[in-house]
């Protein structure tokens, strides 16, 4: 090969030249035969010199050489980067000049420097830079740099964006920044800026800016010092972050926490027992009970969690608790009077109200609020009211009773006198006198019995009785205490209707309602008492909140002065009265209410001013 000839001639010259190069280098002659390869080139090719020299250029160097030849004439001598077989190289291809430095030789030198490590770092840096840019964008963060010598300030693009300014029209240097800062925060921000260029870092400096469009935003600035290679500080570098959203969230969170705390305290302070049950897949779980609930039941949420509301079921009242459970299952609101068992086994009368909590209307309840009230005091109070109402009614009735008895005693006394006169002379007449005397005596005895029944102190025993004769009798008894000009008409459309009631209470209910009617009509006019039956069908619009079933409907309708809305809304309140001082106790309707409620019934009033009032009572029909 002719390459062999060249190499023989020039070898020492090539060797001294190429071995002095730290990179890989080869020399090729005009027909591409390698005339010399230095150690670096052999390392890159992984071959011994004998296998390379004298051979056509091959491997990496052949690629580099051809790549250089393909470049334009102007670029042919320029260094270029080339990626080959997993590594980055800087390639330079140049003609070898003669010893005079001007004359051409037939040789070309190809050098390749492995820059893979540098390239790798460069890419890493680019990656970091890109990541940083992305991160600052996501974090609503801009960066700044202040050169201490010139006090020149450089902002990253995002620093402009978060301040609502544009690099074309705004420059942060020369005290301009202070104008962006909220006037109230300007002092300490300016001070921190001055300290930063004096070499003092800032950390977590929070302040407000007012953007040119007037929007106020919260910023956070962090800054540190940049040092040169000699260890001297020359610049400040830092970040400015828009933390408005975080501030807002922080504020909202604070408000939420404050509100939660208030709600919690309010629940804890409530005199009503409150428990919150959550609906889990496994059933209802006790989430919370307030202090009143714990006090009333002697339980806490932990001890209740084991058994749930079952822990409160009193043995004697299982049916009522079963209906509570049914309501919970159906996610329905409801109000129940049930006996409630404390943890120590004692029992108290309770009112339990259920309110389902739904995420959206119509959805299954996700939780229940259970209100628990101890009705002991209410019941005792109702009993006292009942008694005082009885006493009042008794006073009212006593006039009527006295009238009755006086009339009955009249023949007893008169005929006793006359009987003595005619005795033995006219036995037929005497017999008649004594018949009347006996009859009057028996009637007087009955009157006295009624009064005593009415005045009995003990709680009436409820039993299943026919309401029809009781209402008729009660109307007659009550009418005795009413002005004679008051016409009480009865319209009883039932032959028999049994309900769990007490005769005494029926009397009292009728007396109170009729007396109110009489007062509303100033003692004259027509009051109509009706008695019939209504059936509430499941699914039908609920009548006065009644459960499906058969109900006895008792109404007392007057044509009196009626009531306005305000009055109507308060009539069942104890001691609420529209009557003049000394004329009414304000107990009448509240007593009626408590009695009817005790029967499991309801009472409502319809009234219109100057047209009259109708009291409607529903009593569950006992089948």
């Amino acid at each position: 090969m002719n390459g062999e000839a060249h190499s023989a001639i020039d070898r020492p010259q090539f060797a001294s030249l190429l071995e002095s190069m730290s990179n890989g280098a080869i020399a090729v002659d005009s027909d591409r035969t390698v005339v010399y390869a230095n150690r670096g080139a052999l390392g890159m090719l992984g071959q011994r010199r004998e296998a390379v020299v004298g051979q056509a250029v091959s491997g990496a160097f052949r690629v580099f050489f051809e790549r250089a030849q393909s470049r334009t004439a102007a670029d042919r001598l320029a260094r270029f980067e080339h990626f080959y077989d997993g590594n980055w190289y800087i390639i330079q291809v140049f003609p070898l000049l003669g010893a005079d430095g001007l004359s051409e030789t037939p040789y070309t030198i190809v050098t390749a420097t492995d820059i893979s490590e540098r390239k790798k770092r460069e890419f890493e840096f680019l990656e970091i830079a890109a990541g940083l840019e992305e991160a600052t964008r996501i974090a609503e963060m801009g960066t700044f740099k202040v050169l201490w010598g010139s006090l020149a300030i450089q902002w990253s693009p995002h620093a402009y964006i978060i301040h609502g300014v544009r690099p074309e029209t705004y420059h942060p240097g020369g005290g301009n920044y202070a104008e962006l800062v909220h006037p109230e925060d300007r002092g300490f921000v300016t001070r921190a800026g001055r300290e930063l260029v004096e070499g003092k870092p800032v950390a977590n400096l929070q302040y407000r800016i007012v953007r040119p469009d007037g929007v106020v935003r919260w910023m956070r600035m962090d800054g540190r010092i940049l040092f040169d290679s000699s260890g001297a500080g020359y610049a400040s570098f830092g970040t400015i972050q828009d933390i408005t959203d975080a501030k807002q969230r922080e504020h909202e969170l604070q408000e939420l926490l404050k509100r939660n705390a208030i709600l919690y305290e309010a629940l804890e302070a409530s005199p009503i027992g409150v428990a919150v049950l959550t609906a889990e897949e496994s059933g209802l779980s006790m989430l919370y009970v307030n202090a009143a609930f714990e006090r009333l039941t002697q339980h806490n949420s932990y001890s209740l969690n084991v058994d749930g509301l079952r822990a409160l079921v009193a043995d004697g009242d299982r049916d009522q608790w079963q209906s509570i459970a049914d309501y919970l299952t159906r996610s329905e609101p409801g109000s129940f009077d049930a006996s409630c068992r404390r943890r120590d086994g004692t029992v108290f009368p309770a009112r339990i109200e259920l309110a389902p909590v739904r995420d959206y209307p119509g959805r299954e309840a996700t939780a229940f609020v259970v209100n628990l009230r101890d009705m002991t005091s209410d019941r005792e109070r109702a009993a006292a009211l009942l008694q005082s109402q009885k006493m009042e009614a008794l006073g009212q009735l006593s006039g009527g009773v006295a009238h009755e008895i006086n009339n009955l005693l009249q023949p007893v006394i008169a005929l006793s006198d006359l009987g003595g006169d005619v005795l033995g002379k006219d036995t037929e007449k005497a017999r008649k006198y004594f018949e009347v005397i006996g009859g009057s005596g028996r009637k007087a005895r009955e009157v006295v019995r009624q009064v005593l029944t009415f005045a009995r102190r003990d709680t009436p025993q409820l039993s299943a009785q026919d309401v029809v004769p009781l209402v008729a009798d009660a109307v007659n008894l009550a009418a005795k205490g009413l002005p004679p000009q008051l016409d009480v008409k009865t319209d009883i459309r039932l032959t028999e209707a049994r309900a769990v009631i007490s005769a005494t209470q029926v009397s009292q209910v009728m007396l109170n309602l009729l007396r109110n009617a009489s007062d509303a009509m100033k003692g004259q006019g027509v009051v109509t008492v009706t008695l019939n039956e209504e059936t509430v069908v499941d699914g039908a619009p609920k009548l006065a909140g009644l459960k499906p079933g058969r109900w006895i409907k008792l109404t007392v309708q007057d044509t009196g002065c009626g009531m306005d809305r305000d009055t109507l809304s308060r009539v069942f309140e104890p001691f609420f009265t529209t009557k003049p001082v000394g004329k009414g106790t304000g107990l009448g309707l509240s007593v009626v209410y408590s009695i009817v409620a005790g029967w499991g019934g309801t009472i409502s009033l319809d009234s219109e001013v100057d047209r009259g009032t109708t009291a409607v009572i529903y009593i569950p029909l006992h089948s």
Partner: protein, 121 residues
């Protein structure tokens, strides 16, 4: 002997009062209410009225007002069992105000009524 109009709604009271008056030789005509009594008063001639107060339709006080309002000066003895909605003591002044000559409270003795009747005849 007098002809007496007895106004009383209770049959037992009416019977016993009539027997007392009959026993003293008086004749008695019965009326169950104030209205009936007014009709009978117009139709006949009476020496005396004995009247209850608390009666249906027209009570004794209203009846008394009618009688006196028409200028009739006939003696009236009121017999009262007390009004159911007013204290017993209220009846006497009320009846006197409207022209009752005597007020008697039930239950009274035979002698008390006869004494009252003779005092006004």
């Amino acid at each position: 002997m007098a002809h007496i109009l007895l106004v009383e709604d209770s049959p037992e009271v009416s019977m016993s009062v009539r027997e007392i008056l009959n026993s003293a030789g008086h004749t008695v005509e019965d009326a169950g209410t104030g209205k009936q009594a007014l009709t009978k008063l117009k139709a006949g001639t009476f020496d005396l009225i004995v009247s209850d107060i608390w009666m249906p339709e027209m009570d004794g006080i209203a009846f008394l007002k009618e009688v006196r309002g028409s200028g009739n000066k006939i003696p009236v003895v009121v017999i009262s069992g007390g009004a159911p909605n007013a204290p017993l003591t209220y009846t006497a002044p009320l009846a006197s105000t409207f022209g009752a000559n005597v007020v008697l409270y039930k239950p009274f003795e035979k002698g008390e009524l006869l004494k009252a009747v003779s005092s006004v005849l």
